[in-house]
């Protein structure tokens, strides 16, 4: 039976969507899992822990079309301190955009990392609308795909999966606006303020 290390590469790991995706993964996985957030100070500790696992699942958000710096920095340390027995690396990535394929470049970066460093590459789940899907009636779709991801890793039948909210793009624009307006309202910020075109008060 596989033992799966889950590494959260989100910069806001303790209160991230990635943490929720990781929890869903653990709940639906029949193998033993252990969860770790990547912090600024635990890279070497994590590198040592990798030895104990047959599989490693990176869970992280898309940042500026690629891997977030939080994860990038850890990958560089892992490259310098590789485990003797290399686990199979899988990816659970989410982006706030509707299209799961916007995650492709970041996934390819992880594939390249594996190739450059001799890790077998496993499964992928690309989540679109990942900022909001867990708070919508479509949560079950994400949970279902995460279960399939877990099953593929446990059985070593690695595959690439994707999920998003099955709604037209125009609906998504309205739904995401409503989501962000609620977010702003909680901070006492109006729609007009959120729509400001000024950047740092346009000092240049």
């Amino acid at each position: 039976m596989a033992a799966i290390m889950i590494l959260n590469g989100s910069p806001r790991a303790p209160r991230s969507n990635s943490k929720q995706y990781a929890e869903l993964f653990s709940k639906s996985c029949r193998s033993e899992t252990e969860y770790f957030p990547i912090t600024r100070t635990n890279h070497l500790e994590l590198c040592r822990a990798v030895e104990r696992f047959s599989d490693l699942l990176f869970v992280f958000p898309l940042y500026a079309d690629g891997i977030p710096v939080t994860l990038l920095n850890f990958l560089k340390v892992l490259e310098a301190h590789p485990p003797q027995k290399k686990p199979v690396i899988s990816v659970l990535i989410n982006c706030g955009f509707l299209e799961p394929h916007q995650n492709d470049t970041a996934v390819q970066m992880l594939r390249l990392y594996c190739k450059q460093n001799g890790y077998p590459f496993g499964s992928v789940l690309k989540v679109g609308s990942g900022e909001a899907i867990l708070t919508t009636p479509f949560r079950f779709l994400a949970a279902w795909k995460i279960k399939r991801l877990a099953s593929s890793i446990c059985s070593a039948q690695y595959r690439t999966l994707e999920v998003t909210m099955p709604i037209p793009k125009r609906w998504f624009l309205k739904a995401s606006s409503a989501y962000w307006l609620r977010y702003g309202r909680r901070n006492g910020v109006t729609k007009e303020e959120m729509e400001t075109m000024q950047i740092e008060g346009n000092p240049i």
Partner: protein
Amino acid sequence: MKLILSDRHLELPEADHPSIKFIDLSKLKIANCIGCFGCWTKTPGRCVIRDDAVNVYPYIAKSDSVLYISRVKYGGYDTTMKTMLERAIPVQQAFIRLVHGETHHVQRNVAPKRAVVIGYGALSKEERNLFCKLVARNANNMNFESFRVVFASEQELEATVRKEVSAWRPL
């Protein structure tokens, strides 16, 4: 305005011109984005982390020509450039629009750009191809109206940058 954003020190007398801003990121103190969404939902257009990044992204927004110089790592930008690009999201709004049929964030006052991205240190053709794909993705999210990717070795980097900057003249 034209912006040169580099992840390392470069000797560039060609950049000594009032319409060119040269920023050496390696000399700045820029923390990681913490994903708090403050720049969208608390202090729109302003990052809540008040370090050197807040002096850089207004130039990114304002410039109609940009020249980015970065080491390539795993097919993407290495840490120094990537950290800055992640911290530049105050130039966007939280709200989503369609760009070429894909969902992307609405830009604030961001000039459309002609972008040249110089990558150095790429280890293979596969890594260079992936970096090109990344810049093509950036084009949609960073308001590039056109872009070009150039690769250079570390030894030829400065000459490559100088050549690109010289091509901006007459300014």
